[in-house]
């Protein structure tokens, strides 16, 4: 555990040093503020908390942004050290390969945690100070922050898998972008396209639910839009998730699985690798 913490601290320090964390905080904070200040206009006289609206728009945006940030953070983690030759030296030290992966992972998840905590959290504080609706719906906002961290952790794990799999940094960067496209854009497009063509003949609600569920980004979306009544009403999907049998625990389990499996695969490939 001590070794893991030493390695995590190093990643954390690197993140602070190269202004990575600062940039991510500013990016997330500004977006959260902009979306909620601009997006609160259409609330009108409907009895919906401003924060709920913010959660909807932020969750919709985070689905794109957080995976991108996470992949950018992760794609270089292993292949970069292989290429520069620092990994070779590191592995002659009394650390196991398992500890190297877990240390880096902990460090990168912590970087993301700091970025989300201060970026989104800071925006929340400013919003409650500015707005007059008080802190109604802060639970939904907190869930959004927490699940965003989980979504990020999923994509850091996926980024590691890319990083351990490819031979060159450039390939890793390209593959990471491709991965982002598939998970965040193409999968949903494809799913809805098939659904439209199918017109409900082959793909019933059950199969569709499963197809939604196996995507970590859709799980994230459903989790945020359906767990709290205020949010789901504002999003116009009240009751849909629970009808489809998607409980919060199930959605979170799916995301956890998307963290653990790529991480295990990364570890397996790393153990086999010869330097």
């Amino acid at each position: 555990m001590k070794m893991i913490w030493i390695l995590a601290q190093k990643e954390l320090r690197d993140g602070l040093r190269n202004r990575w964390i600062a940039a991510a905080i500013i990016l997330l904070g500004t977006l959260a503020l902009a979306l909620s200040l601009l997006g609160s206009a259409p609330t009108g006289s409907v009895r919906v908390s401003e924060l709920d609206i913010t959660v909807i728009s932020l969750a919709s945006l985070s689905v794109y942004l957080i995976p991108l940030i996470a992949l950018m953070l992760a794609f270089d983690a292993l292949v970069g050290e292989f290429e520069r030759g620092t990994m070779m030296l590191l592995l002659t030290y009394p650390v196991t390969r398992w500890q190297v992966i877990m240390g880096k992972y902990l460090g990168h998840v912590l970087i993301l945690f700091i970025a989300i905590f201060f970026g989104y959290g800071g925006a929340l504080i400013i919003l409650t100070l500015l707005g007059d609706s008080g802190t109604d719906g802060w639970q939904a906002y907190a869930l959004m922050m927490l699940s965003s961290l989980m979504l990020g952790a999923v994509f850091i794990a996926l980024g590691y898998l890319v990083s351990v799999f490819v031979k060159e940094r450039a390939t890793a960067a390209g593959t990471a972008i491709g991965l982002w496209l598939v998970f965040v854009v193409l999968y949903d497009l494809l799913l809805f396209g098939v659904l439209l063509l199918d017109e409900g003949q082959l793909i019933g609600q059950k199969l569709f639910s499963i197809l939604m569920l196996i995507s970590p980004t859709d799980s994230y979306r459903i989790l945020n839009l359906s767990m709290f009544e205020g949010v789901s009403q504002a999003a116009g999907i009240a009751g849909i998730a629970s009808e489809a049998g998607m409980s919060g625990a199930l959605l979170i389990s799916v995301m956890l699985l998307w963290m653990v499996v790529p991480l295990m695969a990364t570890l397996f490939l790393f153990q086999k690798r010869e330097l």
Partner: protein, 306 residues
Amino acid sequence: MSNNVISLQAVSKTYGNETVVRDVNFDVQPGECIVLVGHNGAGKTTLMKLMLGLTRPSTGTVEVLGGNPAFTAAVAQRLALGYLPESVAFYEAMTGQEVLAFYAQLKGASYYECGKLLQLVGLGDASKRRVGTYSKGMRQRLGLAQAMLGDPQLLFLDEPTTGLDPLLRQHFYELIDGLHKEGVTSIISSHALNEVEARANRFVIMKAGIIVASGTLDELYQLAALPVRLELSVTEGEASRVAESLGTGVNIAHVNNQKLSLSCFKGEKMPLIRHITGLGEVVQDLQIMPPRLDEVYSHFMQGDGL
């Protein structure tokens, strides 16, 4: 279990179709200083990586400090191990001090020791600068400092003096000598034959993945059967007369008015010297030149050792 620090038995390593190390048998006793010599691509670095557990042998067994270095369980053994890779790379964004402190933490060495080592390798003033700004020689010194962290019992130094200027090389070898006096075992790979000649207990000459010769310098001379060269200065005009008197067992390479170059094999050397000293006042000076390591080396490299 033997008391060997390192023991390699019938070790081969194949990457794809290419055999980089072939059937290597190799033992190292505690306190020895072994120098690996060989052309580029002879398999020296691969051999080191095998001993460090970074790669696994295709066939054969590797044992370092009593265990297989490629096993996860070997982690504890790595506490007693220092490694300076060929063209060492560091985390560029960190300062020299931070880099060393990071490695020290992993090895359980103290912060105090970092400072001491930085002074020792002459990086005390540059320790607060980013490694990205370091010159090749400074990186190499930082590399040595990290290899020396935590009082290792076994050092692997891969081409340690490349990129160092002559003064630094000297300083570098003084450091290594100091470690040897403390009983540290070391494996050094080098191209700079003249530098390592005086330092090694044993040389291992590699060629295309095979150990073609190994032993002390003397043993290698005998194996190579290289002649000893003698240079003679004689009274002016007497050179050809002296040459005639030497007889047939001696190979006379060159004669001029007052100088003779001779060569003979080890067994004939002493009789020849006695004969020369018996010639009296005519001989003004005699220099005996044993074969140098680079001659031994090129002998083994040219030979059809495959």
